[in-house]
Amino acid sequence: MSWSAFRALVAVTWRERLLRPFFGVLLVVFCATHVSVALASEGLHDPVFLLVLAIGGGSVGKDVSSGVLPLLFTRPLVRTHYVLTKWFSLASAVAVLSTLTLLLEAAVLAHRGMGLPGRDVAAAVFGSVSSAFGTTSVLLFLSVLVSGYSDVLLWIGLGFLPTLAHKYVPQRVAEQWKMLLNPALDWDATFRGPSIGWFRLFSYLSTVTLCLCLAALAANRKELSYASG
């Protein structure tokens, strides 16, 4: 994909998700609420979880259900590139917003005399950004499989599985399942312990890579038509 096409797709995705009036107002209200919660709890409150669901949901599925995708795929566009561009644009949007919210929270807390060490703020931002790219990759894979915003419902449903089957699922498996659905890096656990947490790091990277590969595979096998739909 050309640099120009990449930029165009990222810009369209950002505009569609962030700059529409209704969505924009909702995001401002959401971030303001988070800052208030941070003030009340006297600590940083990571907004990434809800931002991922609000912005990262329906990444490909919405384009399928709205009928935009068949027209896009008649262009000289490698489907894998399209999927990866979608992931990057949505994850980066979530990452930027969550970072800004966290920095705002830190600034407001500092203004009220409850300042946090810079290292803690950096760790929170790093965790939030890694979670943005990680969880968006999982949602992207689900979004290629189902249409509309069903990926969000599917993701929430899958998250409840270990709770529903807690009698049969060992605690360790439930934790891994949670990490699979919400891959994120903990700055302290991964890099600042007595030794680097290689398992966490590779677990995160392998989950994200696997989800992106599966999303690309599913997109390449996907049939699209106004007749079939």
């Binding site: 165009a8 027209l71 008649t74 049939e223 007749a227």
Partner: protein, 309 residues
């Protein structure tokens, strides 16, 4: 000489459907040809077009366009598509939508503004609407902007699904002019439409598709026309014999009189030679023929099952 589009034994079945959408469909479309598709709703026309575009994968059979698979990226650089159900990013303006597709088509950025402007003018979308969000467009305006995106980059293959649907008469004329211009430039066009008169005017050949199979291909450039019903009118004067004699004259040349009234008759003929013989015989027997026209168009007859062989 290789065909522009070669389809061999194409079959397509959907997973949950009881019957296949396309069955053993074969056709050869030449370069520069305008090839029409007609048929009842659900006949498989849109499925066929989606297979040609590489959006659906054939269950069996093969499609080659210029010797390449339909999803070949090099082929997509020279392909334009106008879908039947126009679903765009509705928050975009018409111009932004074309900018995006100009970019995705891999066309030079330096030419973007001039190309987009030229294309919007070509399809007759008024400049006042260029910066209007697509969600505020009428059906006709949507078709125009859709046609404009399909024409970006001067494609050599064009797939048009109901291009003039919802377009006003001036738009229909503009689209017909565009198709004539594309034809002169040697663009190969596959055109799916229910507007039979429009197809008759622009197409070289038209395939009648029914239940997923091509039942008949009508060559509209051929002067040979088969079985049809003629509406014949003759001048009635004091010297004109009574209409009762028309039936006998028709029988003598092998034609059939379906309905006869003073000064007019509906006559079924088998071919051009029989039509010529009938009209000559009517004139010779004292019926001064002033008009003879087919009761229905050539494509209309396909739907009436008059010409299916």
């Amino acid at each position: 000489m290789p065909a522009a589009i070669q389809v061999d034994g194409l079959s397509k079945s959907y997973r949950r459907a009881k019957t296949p959408a396309l069955t053993d469909l074969s056709v050869r479309i030449e370069e520069g040809e305008i090839f029409g598709l007609v048929g009842p709703n659900g006949a498989g026309k849109t499925t066929f077009m989606a297979c040609l575009l590489g959006l659906l994968f054939p269950t069996r059979g093969k499609i080659l366009i210029e010797g390449r698979a339909p999803d070949d990226l090099a082929l997509r650089r020279v392909t334009g598509y106008l879908p039947e159900r126009l679903q765009f990013d509705r928050w975009m303006t018409g111009r932004a939508f074309l900018d995006l597709h100009h970019c995705l088509a891999g066309l030079p950025e330096a030419r973007r503004v001039s190309d987009v402007r030229a294309m919007l003018q070509r399809v007759g979308l008024e400049p006042a609407h260029w910066l209007t969000p697509i969600k505020k467009y009428s059906r006709g305006m949507l078709q125009r902007v859709g046609m404009a995106q399909a024409l970006l980059g001067n494609p050599r293959f064009l797939f048009l699904d109901e291009p003039a649907s919802g377009v006003d008469p001036s738009g229909v004329l503009a689209f017909r002019d565009i198709l004539s211009d594309l034809k002169q430039r040697g663009v190969t066009i596959v055109l799916n439409s229910h507007q039979l008169d429009q197809l008759e005017r622009v197409c070289d050949r038209v395939a009648y598709i029914e239940a997923g199979a091509i039942r008949h291909i009508e060559n509209l450039r051929s002067t040979e026309v088969g079985r049809r019903v003629l509406l014949v009118r003759w001048l009635v004067t004091e010297a004109t014999p009574p209409p009762d004699g028309v039936g006998g004259i028709a029988s003598n040349v092998g034609a059939t009189a379906l309905e006869v009234a003073p000064g007019r008759a509906r006559l079924a003929v088998a071919d051009d030679a029989q039509a010529a013989a009938l009209l000559r015989a009517l004139s010779e027997r004292g019926y001064p023929v002033i008009e003879a026209a087919p009761e229905s168009g050539r494509l209309e007859r396909l739907f009436r099952k008059e010409d299916l062989s």
